[in-house]
Amino acid sequence: MSLYYVQKFLFELNRDAEMQARYATDRQAAIEPFELTEEEQAALVEPDIGKLFHLGVNGQILMHFAALHQIEWQDYLQRMRDGIAEHGPVREGVYAMTGYEGTDAHAKALGQETP
């Protein structure tokens, strides 16, 4: 696991037009300089939004990445839900650190319906 470098790649991609151009041309080459596992590389190249959320990518970083790929908002949210359903709870990062239990558990704790 190298969540730090997954997020660092996305941080640099999200704010740099030249890097976005390189990524658009050759995604695999764009991520080459970063120390990533094969699982992480595959998620970034596809891109697999659900897997990236499961790996622990901060939503504020992931949201901008999804926007870069023109992923519609409701589709973006659903991809994250599907990622949790398919792969399990968030592995690490801010959501795991503070106890991410999923949308149903959060809604129940607040006495609300799942959005």
Binding site: F11, N14, Q60, L62, Q70, W73, I84, V94, T103, H106
Partner: protein
């Protein structure tokens, strides 16, 4: 006394990016509150606006994350997001490096801050400016508080930072407005997006309007996360504005949940003694 305006507002990207998906009635009333905020700032005579935002990894990352950062440039580009997605075209907002330097120098007397001569705006600043200075013709000084990458800036330090900002603003001859942007409860950019804890928001804003320091600092990150989501960490920006207001009392001009915008959309301000 050169602080001429102190207020807070929401900055969620959906406010501009998903405007067509919101209930038109509530959206229009929220936009009207934003327009009134713009008019109030203009009427204050503010020559510059300090925008205290919780940025979202547009400039700062966990390789070198400042607790506090202040921009020190003559211009700032934005937004970093896809313009069509955010609903805001690319722009360049004017800054004032000299004014920033004077303010930073004074803040540093009591609070350690980082300064940045490069700063790209994300929605945390771009969305408020879209309403407050739609022509991007007012001097902006961007400020960031780490609300994203734990360990986060302690809220007690956010208060101290607000006091330091007030002292710094009062030390310059220019008329300055301070606008905090962020929160309140929300779970932005996660599968929980759209969830809003309205009761928690109202309680927080009550503390904010009373400018009750003890009550505003009576939060832990664990409590905030459980009750208000990771977006609730952005109360730091509101708390800094409360401290900068120097005991003034506040008024909430608009606060209603708009789930497609992912937050209780808020506009509030303090009545400063000028």
């Amino acid at each position: 006394m050169t602080l001429v305006y102190a207020g807070v507002c929401s900055h969620a990207p959906g406010i501009t990016g998903r405007a067509d998906q919101a209930d038109p009635d509530v959206k229009d009333r929220f936009y009207a509150a934003f327009d009134q905020m713009a008019a109030d700032i203009e009427a204050s005579g503010a020559e510059a606006i300090i925008v205290i935002a919780a940025e979202h990894f547009a400039n700062f990352f966990m390789n070198n994350m400042p607790s506090f950062a202040i921009g020190m440039a003559d211009s700032y580009p934005g937004p970093i997001e896809d313009p069509a997605w955010l609903g805001i075209d690319k722009f360049s907002a004017p800054g004032d490096a000299d004014l920033s330097r004077r303010i930073i120098t004074e803040v540093m007397q009591t609070v350690d801050v980082s300064y940045a001569e490069e700063w790209k705006f994300d929605h945390g600043i771009a969305v408020p400016l879209h309403f407050l200075t739609p022509k991007f013709d007012t001097t902006i000084i961007p400020v960031n508080i780490n609300c994203q990458g734990p360990p986060l800036t302690p809220i007690t330090r956010a208060w101290a930072f607000g006091e330091a900002l007030r002292r710094a603003v009062d030390s310059v001859p220019e008329k300055v407005a301070i606008v905090g942007t962020g929160g309140i409860s929300h779970w932005p950019a996660t599968p929980d997006s759209g969830k809003i804890n309205e009761a928690w928001d109202q309680d927080f804003l009550d503390r904010w309007c009373r400018n009750d320091k003890a009550a505003l600092l009576d939060y832990t990150d664990e409590q905030v996360y459980a009750d208000a989501g990771q977006g609730g960490f952005e109360i730091r920006t509101f708390i800094t504005v409360a401290a900068a207001a120097g005991g003034a009392k506040g008024t909430v001009h608009f606060c209603e949940p708009i789930p497609i915008f992912a937050v209780s959309c808020t506009v509030a301000s303090y009545e400063l003694s000028l």
